[in-house]
Symmetry: C2
């Protein structure tokens, strides 16, 4: 585990007003983060659930294109509660989320505190965003900020792409990885003539431990040359793994900080979520040069240990500052936090 | 249901010799099929299992790049038998197949019988084919025959692309749709400047009935502009759906014959597999113009009702002959068969 030079909880649900009078904010987490000049721009995922409680019913929110927010009130005995986030509708076997997410753009001059709570929101609008917009990852490519996000809808959890110049207006570029695929990270520059992304397909049948894949593109929209980059090796990552902060260039290779989750005997995605790191070859990014055998970061702070889902650190953005690294992450599926590491100590931890 | 003008079982496991002395052929099914001049070229999936039986053990075959065939003998009490095809290794929760598949190239002058059983084999060779090569779909594009196939490995069930000029030598083009994705069909020509494919992602969490998607590409290798084409509507397709024969052009639209499976209370993929059809707009193939409300074909013949998996018709290739259509399909996950339909009667059945 790495020494934390600085650590703070930046955003809590009470800091933001709801996006709709019928909703309340229950999570402000998994922030995309990118350097904009000397400042840091964040896109924070805001999870909201119906404010109203109806005895014997579950309120399931969704955004209908054109119609806005709709809450489906479903009798409790017609659904199965799979975990705090997901119910299964018994009649169809299909899943629904108990909350709906969007993004809010926040800014930090010092990287360690939020300047203002009045940010522009990036809300569900397309049919493929009906159940929400989740887990943005921002990469600056040229003078434009691209961000991938999980678009959840009746079609499943796909990954879509959008971009912005100013974090005030946004352009959508559609679904780039069909369901089920999450944790899609764009590299900041082409490698050998093609853009590169890490992605994390999630098949219905598992033949192996969880894996992260790589893909290539000439236009950021069409992706191919798929290959496996990293399969879970440590016990701490036997349940789930996925890209964390978009990779950034160091003299030793592309540095990637990712998340892993220990397999629980009960269900996937229930155990501790920790962070690890690896270095990819600068010219052949499908090759891992070295990796951290153990997590570099595990839930320690109270806001990491207790929240909507306990014991989660989930890195989603990195900003280099001289010889340190500001790592932005979701804590306990409830909070946005930042931790500062020494880059030299991080590289030293990546030993294998 | 459509009138069958002609119907025959073309290939049975006993017709082909095993590819390896330690294996026996248990299935010859799900054939890719394409017109080559006046003839029909087939790529038949050959499923093989270990010839030896060891009391108390399951023999799980795999192809290791460089090393060839390996059979892992696993004590029965360390695995769970999920269905006749799949076991789960208890220690890891990962799946293994009880057989391994490759393809054999066969030829039919009249489209209704096989000329010779000595075909060139397309066998696992790459690491992403370790557990087999399944369910080819052939599309002629220009003067080259491209075929997609399911590449099964520890990384899951992905779809890869290969091509040939002569069905004697083959070029591999790698994974084009990462796991889990099957039933990938290429259109025979670009539409509005891009190649088009139908595909069938299979997420770990289902938010909706099963769906078929469409994607676009400029080079057949990088795919994007993903969108949903068809979601299951009839009761007969509530379990699983997926593309069948590669779409072909008619004056009314792209004609697609696909498969559906009725949801079983026991498990997905257990109920009857039937065939339906729809017409896609010639210029905007993401739009369904009309569809068959009911199956056009259900298991009837004995070789469709009884086999490795009972009650399966699984269309995988179509050849137009004047005003009729030769539809090649897998029967009962064991046999290759052909059925002949009137194209006029098929179009009439697609009414909605």
């Amino acid at each position: 585990m790495l020494r934390r030079l600085y650590n703070a909880c930046l955003v809590r649900p009470g800091d933001l007003s709801p996006s709709h009078e019928e909703l309340e904010v229950v999570g402000t987490f998994n922030p995309g983060a990118v350097a904009v000049g000397d400042e840091v721009a964040l896109l924070v995922r805001v999870a909201e659930r119906p404010r109203e409680r109806r005895e014997g019913f579950a309120g399931l929110p969704r955004w209908e294109p054109g119609a806005g927010l709709t809450i489906d009130w479903v009798p409790n005995d017609t659904v199965r509660f799979l975990d705090p986030r997901v119910v299964e509708v018994k009649a169809t076997g299909s899943a629904r989320l108990t909350f709906v997410s969007h993004l809010v753009a926040l800014r930090s001059k010092d990287g360690r505190s939020i300047d203002s709570w009045n940010g522009v929101r990036f809300q569900p609008q397309e049919e493929y965003e009906t159940y929400g917009i989740e887990d943005p990852r921002i990469t600056r490519i040229g003078d434009r900020f691209y961000f991938t996000y999980v678009a959840v809808s009746p079609h499943g959890a796909a990954t879509a792409l959008a971009s912005t110049m100013d974090f005030r207006t946004f352009d959508r570029h559609g679904i780039i990885f069909p369901c089920e695929n999450k944790d899609v990270l764009l590299f900041p520059e082409p490698v050998d003539g093609e853009y590169v992304a890490l992605h994390r397909p999630n098949p219905s049948v598992h033949f192996a431990p969880p894996e992260m894949w790589i893909a290539h593109s000439s236009d950021l929209l069409h992706w191919g040359r798929h290959a496996v980059v990293h399969a879970a090796q440590g016990q701490w990552e036997t349940g789930r793994i996925g890209g964390g902060a978009p990779p950034f260039r160091t003299e030793h290779g592309w540095l990637e900080v990712y998340h892993g989750n220990e397999k629980s005997p009960d269900a996937p995605g229930v155990g501790v979520y920790a962070a690890g790191a690896f270095l990819l070859d600068l010219e052949h990014p499908q090759r891992i040069l070295r990796r951290s055998p153990d997590p570099i970061m595990m839930p320690e702070a109270e806001f990491e240990r207790e929240g909507f889902v306990h014991n989660v650190v989930f890195p989603t953005g990195a900003v280099q500052r001289d010889d340190t690294l500001l790592l932005y992450y979701g804590a306990a599926d409830a909070y946005t936090a930042v931790v500062e590491f020494s880059q030299a100590e991080l590289l030293a931890a990546i030993s294998q």
